[in-house]
């Protein structure tokens, strides 16, 4: 009913109307996209590795004395190290292993069920001493962890031909069947089997370790992982361990004690500790930077756009004080005036939101081209619309009520 005059009035103030529409549209685009990025990055950061990341610390010892060039010496040192670390109160389990969590990269190989000619499956592969699954806090849901002696003996005996694999790898090799007790063989680049078959003694429920670098697909092997029993180290690569503590709060004290005992075993090396939680934080550094930034931007945006909207609607009322007085003098009721402003604001907000939806998707297309995996869910747009509607209502109601209160006398005062 009152649409006609409202539209004509708006047509009179095209710049102001365009301005508000633009403000609303861009704000909607930025807010929804920021929230979307936050949700996507937080989902990434919540990725569980299947290991008790917070309680694990990596220990890397780099020898600089020549006796470490002897392989037998390395084995005895590894045994002595393992024993020394296990004896530290608060240490749950320790393993000598080439596995490094949340590092990006690692080693990989191709395997298939022993004796079969099926297509080889690519998997991450690492050596680990007897307690490797315990030191990771991994759940072995089928079969068992490595047993005593399987990682070879101190006198240089070979390690047992057994492996522990992840559930995802088990599924790829033996779909729908139990894997523990079956055997696998390693495959060369030309498709021939190498060496003896290995028996699967255990299956880990989960195995996530980012293999691709940040930005690339972090999980090209889809949680496929394999451990074989071995103790190892070298002069060039050093001796590496993963240690899990029972209470992550005691980590610092435990690290000090481990360092003391390790240096006691052999002082001819440099000792480096790195809690896995720190490595995980570094792995997700860009993600957490994005979450912090986007949160700050949203907060500032809501405040600033509310201020801007209040400013401009207050002005639009102030500018039209005399017109409103005239309309009131000519018989318009207070309700008519209020309705005029509410309808006007509804039209402007609706136009802004409509344009905003287009802008949201346009910005999203750009962001998806520059980010990984942050497609805009429609629910989020609804949330953004609701937020901005609330913003618009809060910002425009006070001026509209002020307009309603303008007395007809204003119209006559200055003429």
């Amino acid at each position: 009913m009152h649409i006609g005059p409202v539209v004509r009035a708006m047509n009179h103030n095209r710049t102001r109307v365009t301005l508000i529409i633009l403000e609303i549209a861009i704000t909607l685009a930025i807010v929804t996209n920021c929230v979307n990025v936050i949700l996507a990055e937080r989902a990434k950061m919540a990725t569980r590795s299947g290991f008790e990341d917070t309680g694990i610390v990596r220990l890397h010892t780099r020898p600089f004395v020549p006796e470490f060039q002897d392989e037998a010496f390395i084995r005895t040192t590894v045994d002595a190290d393992l024993q020394a670390i296990e004896g530290v109160p608060g240490v749950e389990a320790v393993a000598n292993t080439s596995f490094q969590l949340w590092e990006g990269g690692g080693s990989s190989t191709e395997i298939r069920p022993a004796g079969s000619s099926s297509a080889p499956v690519r998997t991450q592969i690492y050596y680990g001493s007897q307690n490797i699954t315990q030191s990771l806090g991994a759940t072995v849901s089928e079969g068992r962890p490595f047993a005593e002696g399987e990682h070879g003996s101190g006198s240089g005996e070979e390690s047992a031909s057994v492996v522990i694999i992840s559930r995802a790898l088990a599924e790829a090799l033996f779909p729908g069947q139990p894997a523990a007790g079956r055997s696998i063989e390693f495959v060369t680049g030309t498709g021939e089997a190498t060496g003896d078959p290995y028996a699967i003694v255990g299956v880990m429920e989960r195995f996530f370790n980012p293999f691709g670098m940040p930005g690339a697909d972090p999980d090209p092997f889809e949680e496929r992982g394999l451990f074989y029993p071995q103790r190892a180290g070298s002069y060039a690569q050093g001796l590496r361990y993963l240690i899990r503590v029972s209470d992550p709060g005691d980590m610092a004290a435990i690290i000090t004690e481990i360092e003391r005992r390790i240096v006691e075993v052999n002082p001819g090396r440099v000792v480096e500790f790195e809690p896995v939680s720190e490595k995980k934080a570094r792995w997700f550094a860009t993600s957490s930077l994005m979450v912090t930034t986007m949160t700050f931007i949203i907060a500032m945006l809501v405040i600033i756009s509310a201020l801007g909207l209040i400013g401009i609607t207050a002005l639009s009322v102030a500018e039209r004080t005399r017109q409103i007085g005239t309309r009131r003098a000519l018989g318009a009721t207070r309700a008519d005036i209020l309705r005029h402003f509410l309808i006007e604001n509804a039209i402007i907000t609706a136009a802004g939101l409509a344009l905003g939806i287009v802008a949201t998707y346009a910005l999203n297309v750009f962001l998806v081209a520059n980010l990984v995996d942050a497609k805009m869910p429609p629910m989020l747009i609804l949330f953004g619309i609701a937020l901005l509607l609330l913003n618009a209502i809060v910002a425009t109601l006070p001026p509209a009520f002020r307009a309603m209160g303008i007395s007809p006398a204003v119209a006559t005062k200055s003429i």
Binding site: T15, R16, L19, I20, L22, E23, I26, T27, A29, I30, N33, C34, V37, R62, F64, P214, G215, A216, A236, V270, R282, A285, T286, S287, S288, L289, M290, T292, T293, M294, F296, I297, M300, L301, I304, S305, L307, G308, L309, G311, I312, A314, L315, A318, E319, L363, F366, L367, N370, L371, V372, S414
Partner: protein, 437 residues
């Protein structure tokens, strides 16, 4: 007249401190965020080698053999590095002004005093040209001589941090350092130098620091120094020995050239093509004769070294500044029209529309500049937050280019916010307002 406008503008800003600080704060937040994130992006796109980015090239040859291309899923791919034999052959080319093969190794550095424990240092083997190709700054001394390169002398260049640790930061040229069980004479100490990316070798931990110690490349044979970086074979080395490795098809060296002029690239390309053609008759390069010369910016692009999200964040930050400016339009309109009577008096007293327009626009630009200044301070805080999140954060700094950018951005923000309000202010008719008085 300009200073008169500025004076009036300052007066107007002082009249309503709350409103003014709101306006300045709005610009400051926008400038603070956008400057910080544009600076972050700038770190990856800035000119990596001032004055040389278009003349410094990374050389790759398709020495890969066997049945597959280097990356089995990409037939266009070339090996990331070159073989030892190819590096030696490339050194024969007279065309490049400077050139060097290079790789990184590791060795224990033993301090002279027992007070400091030895530590494993990253060492880079290279010809002396590397220091000039990458414009590495020296605090003391300089690169070793051609002679030292030719005779594989035991000389070293150490970086700033290593000099601090070993010699307490004093001029250590002429002193000796001990790597494993060999002694080296220090000929040069680098000034603090932290490029955003490790330009020499970007296919390996690109955001890390440059290496700590630099030794002549020709030490590789007498000292049998192995690479610590990536190395790839398509043919097994059997039986393995260091000499067999050097003679093998293993790719493990980076090769850099600096040409005298960008135009020499064709001549140099022809030289490489003829070398590859010659090798073909010896049974190498059996697949293709392709080679590639890439500049540092091309490598940054090819290896995707700018983290996902950096460009996105810089665009979102700029859009945020745009919204800040747009929102200030409404507030400025209110401010200017509230003193419509003052304007109409000035108009009635003879001020032209243009003068009124400039007066108000200058006020807006002043807000932009003051806000920009505050925003720069704010961006230092934002940069400190970003620095904590990036491994190469210490290379992140506001340089003169970024300061200029922030200043221009402030003026643009002031213009966006102020153009329409200033225009409206200058349209105020003198008569109408006088009548109301």
């Amino acid at each position: 007249m300009f200073f008169y406008h500025v004076r009036i503008a300052l007066k107007s800003l002082r009249r309503n401190p709350v409103l003014s600080s709101l306006l300045i704060g709005g610009i400051a937040v926008g400038i603070g965020i956008s400057t910080a994130f544009v600076t972050l992006r700038h770190m990856y796109v800035q000119d990596p080698i001032p004055g040389g980015s278009d003349r410094v090239f990374y050389v790759r040859l398709d020495s890969w053999g066997g049945q597959q291309s280097y990356m089995s899923d990409d037939p266009e791919s070339l090996p990331d590095q070159v073989t030892y034999a190819d590096a030696r052959a490339l050194l024969e080319s007279p065309i490049p002004r400077r050139q060097t093969p290079t790789f990184v190794g590791a060795a224990f550095l033993h301090p002279a005093t027992a007070a400091t424990r030895p530590w494993q240092a990253e060492i880079r083997l290279t010809f002396n040209d590397l220091f000039d190709i990458f414009r590495m700054p020296f605090a003391y001394g300089g690169p070793w001589t051609e002679d030292a390169d030719a005779r594989a002398e035991r000389v070293a260049v150490i970086d700033h941090d290593t000099n601090q640790k070993l010699f307490g930061g004093e001029n250590s040229v002429g002193r000796t350092i001990r790597l494993e069980d060999a002694e080296f004479r220090v000929v040069g100490v680098l000034a603090p130098w932290r490029p955003p990316l490790r330009y020499f070798e970007m296919n390996r931990g690109a955001t890390g620091k440059p290496e700590e110690v630099y030794l002549p490349f020709n030490l590789v044979e007498p000292m049998q120094i192995a690479t610590r970086g990536n190395a790839n074979n398509w043919k097994p080395i059997q039986p393995y020995s260091f000499e067999a490795m050097l003679a093998s098809e293993r790719v493990w060296l980076q090769y850099w050239v600096e040409l005298a002029a960008p135009g020499d690239v064709d001549a140099y390309g022809d030289w490489i093509a003829s070398y590859v053609e010659g090798q073909r008759s010896l049974g190498r390069f059996e697949q293709t004769t392709r080679y590639r010369l890439s500049t540092v910016p091309q490598l940054i692009e090819e290896f995707g070294l700018m983290p996902a999200g950096v460009r996105a964040m810089s665009i979102v930050a700029l859009l945020f500044l745009l919204v800040c400016s747009l929102n200030l339009i409404g507030i400025l309109l209110g401010k200017f029209l509230a003193r419509a009577s003052e304007v109409s008096v000035r108009r009635a007293l003879g001020a032209s529309r243009a003068q009124v327009f400039w007066q108000h626009l200058i006020e807006c630009e002043l807000i932009g500049l003051i806000g920009g200044g505050a925003g720069l301070l704010l961006s230092l805080g934002v940069l400190a937050v970003i620095r904590r999140h990036m491994r190469n954060g210490e290379a992140l700094r506001l340089d003169s280019e970024m300061l200029l950018f922030a200043a221009v951005l402030s003026l643009v923000a002031g213009l966006i916010a102020g153009l329409y309000p200033a225009w409206r202010a200058c349209r105020i008719a003198p008569a109408m307002q006088l009548k109301v008085q």
